[in-house]
């Protein structure tokens, strides 16, 4: 293992140690360790089936690892459910964007803010209108102000991705997990989306872990890159070092005409 960078040693928001998870006979994630510090943007890349989404699901608690540990903000959360990790400051966007289909975009975000503040238990209280203004502000911050009144079920996919970012931000996350944040977006939209994300990471000292198939996005927006291949870490380091790494080129980047795409 390479020595961690000073920033990571100082302030690791996410620590993943020896993570293993098998499905049937397939070891989807096989001994993965890395850290993400606050204000740091780490890209998790690798070919299809490398274990990226499984890693995400292990980190946010949708899956429990067979072996290994997940520590968030110094607390071991390996056995804790997703909702508890969310309360500890984990925000997430999904590979296949997920929103609340029966609500408007504003109501989506208002619910996420209310959930973060523990204000969703009352079966008799008034609705969530009190959160509308904050929801609108958050939507404006991700460049989706004009979507506030739209029905979430009929959004264009790129718009949905931005709404998802707002949903993830509603919990004031320390750690933001973004599974393919720009999938389904037009090339120009992608840059704009990642610019917003990068700015937020700086402003709010968020630790960002994201997967992405668009290598331009990865090299432009990652401070560090972790390369997964068949469940194992193949390489890790700064974008330039990864770009130059022969093993990575062979396993993944090598053939330009065979650019990996996701389902």
């Amino acid at each position: 293992m390479k020595p961690p960078s000073p920033a990571v040693a100082a302030m690791p928001v996410l620590v993943v140690e020896g993570l293993e998870r098998a499905f049937g006979g397939v070891r989807a994630v096989d001994g993965v360790s890395f850290t993400v510090a606050s204000g740091e943007r780490v890209a998790l890349i690798g070919p299809n089936g490398a274990g990226k989404t499984t890693c995400f699901n292990l980190i946010d608690g949708q899956l429990t690892p067979d072996e290994g540990r997940v520590t968030i903000g110094g607390t071991d959360v390996t056995a804790r459910p997703t909702r508890e990790r969310a309360r500890r400051g984990v925000g997430r966007t999904f590979q296949v964007a997920a929103s609340f289909a029966s609500m408007t975009v504003r109501e989506n975000v208002a619910l996420a803010i209310a959930a973060h503040e523990g204000a969703t238990a009352s079966p008799v209280g008034a609705g969530l209108g009190a959160y509308d203004a904050r929801a609108d502000a958050l939507l404006a911050r991700v460049g989706a102000a004009e979507l506030a009144g739209e029905h979430a079920a009929i959004l264009a996919y790129g718009d949905l991705k931005r709404v998802e970012l707002a949903l993830a931000l509603a919990g004031e996350p320390r750690l933001l997990l973004m599974d393919e944040p720009t999938a389904g977006m037009a090339p120009r939209e992608r840059g704009a989306m990642m610019d917003v994300v990068s700015a937020l990471v700086r402003e709010r000292s968020i630790a960002l872990l994201f997967t992405e198939h668009d290598m331009d996005v990865v090299f432009a927006h990652a401070d560090r890159i972790v390369v997964l291949d068949r469940g194992r870490i193949l390489a890790r380091g700064a974008p330039d070092a990864i770009r130059a790494d022969r093993r990575v080129q062979e396993a993944y980047l090598g053939t330009d005409d065979d650019t990996p795409t996701d389902r």
């Binding site: 997703t82 909702r83 309360r87 997920a98 029966s102 609500m103 959930a115 969703t120 009352s122 209280g125």
Partner: protein, 631 residues
């Protein structure tokens, strides 16, 4: 009890299990291939029994028909059921394969109603007892007891069918297709197999097995009109316990349940810690308890293939934008209440009763809608909470409590039941959830039905009349309408509350809900408990409006009535429950006055709703309004 007596019960239990296996094997085969849980499966069983009776009756005049006549009767009944099954598949189920399971279950229940009345028309209301089978009508001596030859014969038939089906599935091309379809339907279609024919064939085979089981049951039990639901409920239990889609699973589960029931009978009344427990009275309860335990520990059943529960197929309305009621709706609500208050004054005794019935049905439907709508939980056993409320009110009243106190006891008792059952239910989804809710409803029904000393058994409880001040029908109607109005207001507040919004979020996307910190299960559990409590209140009001209650109060048809009312009114329409309850209650009443075959009429109406307006009339109305407002 002697060893011989135990052995007799043991064989009897296995014989019943064998018969049940035949029914369940067909059900599970159909589910495995088509993914449809066929409520009408018991109807094929019932038809098989009646058909066998008729064939046997016709052949009885021919001298020397004997055992050959029995064979012919069984073969004819099997064939008849298979043909009818194919017919039902081609005309109805083909249209429903892509539909949400709630609509599939409801539509196949409509078939139950239609077949029931067709049977009534063809064979009449009295039971039809078949003759004993020549050559199998004696007993095999065992000590002082004897084992019926026919029971042994049934066990052999069960084993033969198991072997035959196993060979069919494992060794034939048809079996390969069945297995492939069970694993990946798209792949079978891609292979160029005529999927439509495969489905029809599987459905005919399953229905034929049910018909055969019905015919074979005839020498043990007369053909009667209650067979369909009784056997399908048991077959549900067996298929779920065995693992949906698994034939060996159905066999093992049938045997386990058959033996548990035999054990209950054999144990007799036992003193446990000073309390006399009459085990023979627990037979109906036992199988559903087995099912609840298995589902709680191993949701996929003994041999179920998947560990991950399939998510519910959402109703289209569950993705529609929900607009919380506002000022306009408040005015409409006030107008509706005014109409309910005025109705008894303007009309006769009949309208007074109908107004009360509609008000109570509205509350029942609205409580169920909380589950189907915001919570997204498919319940097929909501009558349990209605019934628990009714019985709790009645029992409290019988103990000397005033009506007011009894009406407090009703929702509380239902709340407790819903909290207990809900704990298990919210761990499941989709078809499994629907079947578990049904199982709990059947447990409750069985307890009420068999616990004579407390619940009055099948006779129920009588003499539940409101106090003098409310004895007048008009006054009681107003009283009921007032309580229902308050409860409806509370339900609409719950749906619009932060909790209601979070609940809807959990339904829309469980993964997203968890990732923003919501506890999906707890939300659903709370909704289940609340829905149960409101249904219980409706049940309490019902008890005092009728003056008597019986196990019918919590039987399967009432659960389905609630579902139809909700579907009729639409999941999202603000006044869906009152629209659905009014149309349903009035329609059912008018139908039952017009014809003895009102069930068939109801069945046809249900099919029309499911096939033509799955969004419900309320949904149609709501979207028309939305269009007019230009939103």
């Amino acid at each position: 009890m002697t060893a011989a007596a135990y052995a007799v019960q043991f064989v009897n239990g296995l014989a019943s299990a064998s018969s049940l296996f035949l029914v369940a094997a067909g059900l599970t085969l159909i589910f495995g291939v088509t993914r449809v849980v066929n409520f009408a499966h018991g109807s094929f069983f019932m038809l098989g029994a009646y058909a066998a009776w008729s064939i046997g009756d016709a052949l009885a005049g021919i001298p020397g028909a004997g055992a050959g006549g029995f064979v012919l009767a069984v073969a004819g009944a099997t064939l008849a059921a298979a043909v009818l099954g194919a017919l039902v598949e081609v005309t109805l189920l083909k249209r429903l394969y892509a539909a949400p399971e709630l609509l599939q279950l409801t539509a196949t229940f409509a078939v139950v109603l239609i077949v029931r009345d067709a049977t009534l028309a063809a064979w009449g209301a009295e039971d039809r007892l078949g003759p004993r089978v020549p050559g199998l009508d004696e007993g095999v001596a065992l000590g002082t007891r004897s084992i019926a030859e026919y029971d042994l014969f049934l066990i052999v038939v069960g084993l033969l069918v198991l072997a035959g089906l196993t060979l069919l599935v494992r060794r034939t091309r048809f079996g390969v297709l069945v297995r492939a379809a069970a694993e990946n339907r798209a792949m079978v279609a891609a292979l160029g197999v005529d999927q439509a024919k495969l489905y029809t064939a599987v459905f005919a085979l399953g229905a034929g097995l049910a018909g055969m089981a019905g015919a074979l049951q005839l020498p043990r039990e007369p053909a009667n009109l209650g067979m369909d639901l009784a056997v399908v409920a048991e077959a549900f239990v067996v298929t779920v316990v065995g693992g949906l889609g698994s034939i060996p699973g159905a066999f093992v589960a049938a045997m386990v349940i058959g033996l548990v029931k035999a054990l209950c009978i054999a144990l007799g009344t036992v003193d446990v810690a000073g309390v006399a427990i009459a085990f023979p009275k627990l037979t109906l309860v036992a199988e559903f308890v087995v099912m609840a335990i298995v589902l709680a520990i191993r949701p996929q059943g003994f041999f179920g293939a998947t560990l991950t529960l399939p998510a519910s197929t959402p109703l289209p309305e569950q993705r529609a934008l929900v607009v919380d009621p506002g000022r306009r709706e408040a005015w409409v609500a006030a107008a509706i209440v005014a109409a309910f208050v005025a109705l008894p004054l303007l009309s006769d005794e009949y309208a007074r009763i109908l107004a009360t019935d509609i008000a109570i049905a509205t509350l029942f439907a609205a409580s169920l809608r909380l589950l189907l709508g915001p919570a997204g939980l498919t319940s097929f056993g909501h009558a349990a909470y209605f019934g628990v409320g009714a019985y709790a009110a009645a029992l409290a009243f019988k103990q000397g409590a005033p009506m007011g106190a009894a009406l407090v006891a009703a929702p509380l008792a239902a709340l407790v039941a819903a909290i207990a059952f809900g704990w298990f239910c919210v761990r499941l989804s989709g078809v499994y959830l629907a079947m578990l809710t049904l199982a709990f409803a059947q447990i409750t029904w069985s307890i009420v039905f068999q616990w004579d000393a407390v619940t009055g058994g099948s006779n129920g409880l009588i003499g539940l009349w409101p106090p003098e001040s409310l004895a007048d029908r008009t006054r009681y109607s107003w009283f009921a309408v007032a309580i229902v109005a308050v409860a409806m207001f509370a339900l609409s507040r719950i749906a619009a509350s932060p909790f209601g919004r979070a609940l809807r979020g959990a339904r829309d996307s469980a993964a997203r809900a968890e990732s923003i910190g919501l506890d999906v299960r707890r939300l659903q559990w709370t909704a289940f408990a609340l829905a149960g409590a409101f249904a219980g209140l409706a049940g309490g009001l019902y008890a005092f409006s009728k003056g008597s209650i019986s196990p019918e109060t919590l039987a399967i048809p009432r659960s389905v009535d609630g579902l139809v009312m909700v579907l009729l009114g639409g999941l999202n329409a603000t006044f869906g429950p009152v629209i659905g309850a009014s149309l349903f209650t009035w329609g059912q009443d008018a139908l039952s006055r017009a014809t003895d075959f009102w069930r068939a009429g109801l069945g046809v109406a249900i099919l029309a709703i499911v096939l033509a307006v799955p969004h419900g009339l309320g949904g149609v109305l709501a979207s028309a309004i939305v269009r007019r407002r230009g939103r």
